[in-house]
């Protein structure tokens, strides 16, 4: 045991002089960071601030008596997420068990602050499990996925709007921006990608210019410009800031989606198009039934990665005065009573972003493997 440890460390940590020096520097540093960080997390930190400010962090200034609307949103998203998962990953017994354990752990943490919340979280998780089970068991349901997402988003908007769209905030706003951008930029991106290959020079030039422009300017600029320009274009309507922000994100990210889709279109062999044409299919049908499905299969993993980019870019909406998750954390800290809890809040933000981000990355990687197995 000791001998093998020594052999392992010799091979992995002290193989060459440079390795040895690096190891001697890095290992104590890590140990020190872990120790001091750990002792602060378990002894110094005052985590009470998180449950106290959790509502602001999650929904911003959304009115407390309307919070049930946010819970409704969580339930809808739970079902949709589960259904989406089921289209790709079959729900094994082991997977279901692991999932239940994770949910139980989250619920336990939540019970500590509020039993009702715990119940609702478990309900959302159960809905997700149901959706997952349904689409992984009955393949016929899968074709309703896109309509379901569209309907779901409309329902969420209808559910959350009454108190005022301007009141949306916190993690809820970050997630909504991500969802809306992801769902809307996909069809737009597909259209742009096809437009860039169009026979018609005017269409081709417009799409190319659009894509290249968006890809060469910063997101924050696009969001800000759209925010300013929309009221000028449509002075008779007062479009809420949140919607203007979503418009900016969608306009910006559809250019990136278009480029991903285009790389997928190029990956479809020429013979596929020729075979379809030789069967008499119209160009529209060739693209719809032969080219697009094959190219989307290639680009699903980068598109999932793109969703993560959107999510991580969401804090930029502070520029138009919105309060996303990160901004909500800063808002909590702005309260003088909490001003010495900076680390607690930022660690909470960090961990949450990290968990969501790594979940999406993990899904994208799994998806890539899954699709690679399915093809050829």
């Amino acid at each position: 045991m000791i001998a093998s440890t020594i052999r392992w460390s010799h091979r992995n940590l002290f193989a060459k002089p440079l390795d040895a020096v690096l190891s001697l520097v890095v290992i104590p540093l890590c140990a020190w960071a872990l120790y001091s960080g750990g002792s602060w997390v378990f002894q110094g930190a005052q985590w009470g601030i998180i449950p106290e400010s959790i509502r602001v962090l999650l929904v911003g200034i959304y009115p407390a008596d309307q919070i049930w609307r946010a819970w409704g949103t969580l339930l809808i998203f739970g079902l949709l997420f589960g259904a989406t998962l089921g289209c790709v990953f079959f729900l094994h017994r082991v997977l279901a068990l692991g999932y239940c354990l994770v949910v139980a752990a989250i619920a336990l943490v939540a019970v500590y602050s509020e039993p009702t919340s715990a119940l609702l979280i478990v309900a959302a998780a159960a809905l997700a499990l149901a959706g997952w089970f349904a689409t992984s068991r009955w393949e016929n349901l899968r074709r309703f996925l896109v309509p379901a997402w569209t309907l779901g988003l409309i329902a969420v908007f209808a559910l959350l709007s009454p108190p005022g769209i301007g009141l949306w905030g916190g993690l809820m706003l970050s997630v909504l921006i991500t969802m809306v951008t992801a769902v809307l930029s996909l069809p737009l991106g597909i259209l742009l990608a096809f437009g860039r290959r169009s026979q018609l020079a005017s269409v081709r030039m417009f799409c190319t210019a659009y894509i290249e422009t968006m890809r060469s300017v910063p997101l924050i600029l696009v969001v800000y410009c759209v925010w300013i320009v929309l009221p000028v274009l449509a002075p008779q309507y007062s479009v809420p800031d949140v919607l203007r922000g979503m418009a900016g994100f969608t306009i910006f990210f559809s250019a990136y989606v278009a480029e991903y889709v285009r790389s997928g279109l190029q990956a479809v062999p020429k013979g596929q198009v020729e075979a379809a044409r030789s069967l008499g299919m119209s160009e529209l049908d060739v693209n719809r039934y032969i080219v697009l499905p094959q190219s989307l299969r290639v680009v699903v993993p980068p598109l999932v990665g793109n969703v993560l980019d959107v999510f991580n870019a969401a804090p930029l909406v502070f520029i138009i005065g919105l309060t996303d998750f990160l901004r909500a954390g800063q808002m909590v800290l702005a309260n003088p009573q909490y001003s010495d809890r900076t680390y607690e809040i930022y660690i909470f933000l960090f961990v949450t972003y990290f968990l969501i981000g790594s979940l999406i990355t993990f899904a994208a990687r799994k998806l890539e493997l899954h699709l690679a197995k399915g093809a050829r």
Partner: protein, 252 residues
């Protein structure tokens, strides 16, 4: 007999490279025409002009009574004729080109449903009948990747037949196959020929050509040098270049 494909004075260029030179050719209904010639001589180009996968610049091509639009007419208004021609012309490729994301059954039933507006039930029943005919009924639910090369090519033939074409084009249908699978594909083609299907076949299988062809076309550097009955062209070729070509390929 009526003519189904008529080419007169067809010229085709890639930039300054001329790949078809003054091609005159006609295919009669029910005829099996085999196209032979050295690599790069324009065999593929010739038959791909028949269903408009390749454009041509000069001359005239008539298929099924429709005028195939020339390159400059393609963009403005030529789509209708092109679509009409393609409905009636089936094609089988060297690389099979089955749709990998669709099952065998879907591969065959898709075009009849989308182009001929058949019901799903009707298209699938017809697809199964065709699969039975090429001996692959048991594989209907599989994906192309799960089949051998020979099986894939037979599915590709069934897929083209599902559109009830008046003429079938084959571009080296057995060249990508392992030798032991060549026979099963040629058998299917032989049956088609016996049933009276009009076919244009590019192939290097000279034995097969001699057996099924009504006429053999020899093409070299984009020009048709000889068109004759197989017995004539294989036993007593008139053209010098035909003779050298055949002596080279028949030696093996």
């Amino acid at each position: 007999m009526s003519t189904i494909v008529e080419m007169t004075g067809v010229n085709k260029f890639y930039g300054s490279l001329q790949v078809l030179k003054d091609v005159d050719l006609s295919v009669e209904k029910g005829e099996v025409m085999v196209v032979i010639g050295p690599s790069g001589s324009g065999k593929s180009t010739l038959i791909r002009c028949v269903n408009g996968l390749e454009v041509y610049q000069q001359g005239e091509i008539t298929v099924d009574g429709y005028q195939m639009p020339r390159e400059e007419d393609r963009k403005i208004g030529g789509e209708k004729e092109l679509a009409a021609i393609r409905k009636g012309v089936g094609m089988v490729f060297q690389q099979f080109n089955l749709f990998p994301h669709k099952t065998v059954l879907e591969n065959i039933s898709l075009a009849p449903m989308r182009v001929r507006r058949k019901s799903k039930a009707e298209a699938e029943a017809n697809a199964l009948r065709l699969l039975d005919r090429v001996g692959l009924k048991a594989h209907a639910a599989k994906y192309p990747a799960q089949l051998s090369g020979g099986q894939q090519q037979r599915v590709a033939i069934a897929r083209a037949l599902a559109m009830e074409p008046h003429i079938m084009l084959f571009d080296e249908p057995t060249s990508a196959l392992d030798p032991e699978m060549v026979g099963e594909v040629l058998d299917v083609m032989r049956e088609l020929a016996a049933e009276g299907m009009t076919m244009m076949i590019v192939t290097h299988e000279m034995g097969f050509a001699r057996e099924v062809a009504d006429r053999v076309v020899y093409i070299d550097q984009g020009a048709i040098l000889e068109v004759a009955k197989p017995a004539q062209i294989f036993d007593a070729p008139q053209n010098e270049r035909t003779r050298t070509f055949l002596s080279r390929v028949l030696k093996h």
